[in-house]
């Protein structure tokens, strides 16, 4: 059951497009000597931390299991 991973990857592609556009926007319209540089670095570091953690997680678990619908009572 790899579908959740595919959905996650699709989300990640959209996320990266928006994040890159936002970073480009900051670089283009930001001011020299202001806080945009530091905030962008923090944003990139946090994003990479989550993405790398999730990549490790995705590769470490077995996605071939099936969903157990009995937990919902049916």
């Amino acid at each position: 059951m790899i579908i959740p991973v595919i959905i996650y990857i699709l989300f990640l592609i959209v996320y990266i497009v928006f994040a890159l556009f936002a970073i480009y926007h900051v670089r283009r319209f930001g001011f020299i000597g202001d806080a945009t540089k530091y905030v962008t670095i923090i944003f990139v570091i946090l994003s990479l931390a989550i993405i790398i953690f999730m990549a490790f997680y995705i590769f470490s678990v077995d996605w071939d299991q099936s969903f157990d619908f009995s937990i919902f009572g049916f």
């Binding site: 059951m1 959740p4 991973v5 996650y8 989300f11 990640l12 996320y15 928006f18 994040a19 556009f21 936002a22 926007h25 900051v26 283009r28 319209f29 930001g30 001011f31 020299i32 000597g33 202001d34 806080a35 945009t36 905030v39 944003f43 946090l46 994003s47 989550i50 993405i51 953690f53 999730m54 997680y57 995705i58 678990v61 996605w63 299991q65 099936s66 969903f67 157990d68 937990i71």
Partner: protein
């Protein structure tokens, strides 16, 4: 405080903006008061809290959801969710931070950053300023010292420049007025000199 001192003090900030002319000095750079950004921070915190509440509820009422394939999907969803929250905060900050009002020794520039894909820039020459009005209305704006500044201009194309919720509006009003006065004095002097020289030239020509 003289005009030169004011300009030199502000130049020390070493802030340069895109499109700044070589001889242009930034005298003032104002943003919307941080209080206006608090709403976005609260919304971001609320999104994070919603995730924690969902986790607690699932642990309490449906612990089986956090194990097996459902648990894995939940972790995957959480990763995507926190990336979304992070981007939401970053774009919100970007919209707040890049929405600025710049006063230089030549013009006023109003950069209106409404969203990531909606940005407008308008500018007004200091020579065209007719009137500047500051207003602080309400309890919180009075306590936190922020308010609106309206700049009326002579040009029909711009009409009125409005800056909403900027810190220390009365101080900004004074600075803009002083700059506008200085620029109009300079223009007046130049025009005066220009008229004299042409009169002199005219005299010479008349005599010649």
């Amino acid at each position: 405080m003289t005009f030169q001192f004011l300009v030199s003090k502000m130049i020390k900030l070493e802030r340069r903006f895109p499109g700044q002319r070589d001889e242009e000095a930034t005298v003032l750079l104002a943003r919307v008061h941080w209080f206006r950004f608090l709403g976005h921070i609260f919304l971001t915190l609320l999104l994070a809290i919603i995730w924690f509440v969902a986790l607690l509820l699932l642990r309490a009422y449906l612990p089986a959801f956090l194990t097996g394939m459902w648990g894995q999907v939940f972790v995957l969803f959480s990763g995507a969710y926190f990336l979304f929250v992070l981007l939401f905060l970053f774009i919100g900050w970007l919209n707040y931070y890049l929405d600025v009002w710049i006063v230089t020794n030549e013009r006023l520039i109003d950069i209106d950053q409404k969203s990531l894909f909606d940005r407008s820039v308008s500018q007004l020459s200091l020579r065209k300023i007719q009137n500047v009005r500051a207003e602080v209305k309400g309890i919180l704006p009075t306590l936190l010292r922020f308010g609106d500044v309206d700049v009326e201009s002579a040009g029909a194309d711009v009409g009125r420049f409005s800056f909403r919720s900027i810190p220390k509006p009365f101080e900004v009003e004074r600075k803009v007025l002083r700059l506008a006065q200085h620029v109009s004095e300079q223009v007046g002097e130049k025009e005066g000199v220009g008229t004299k020289s042409s009169a002199v030239r005219g005299g010479k020509n008349g005599l010649g």
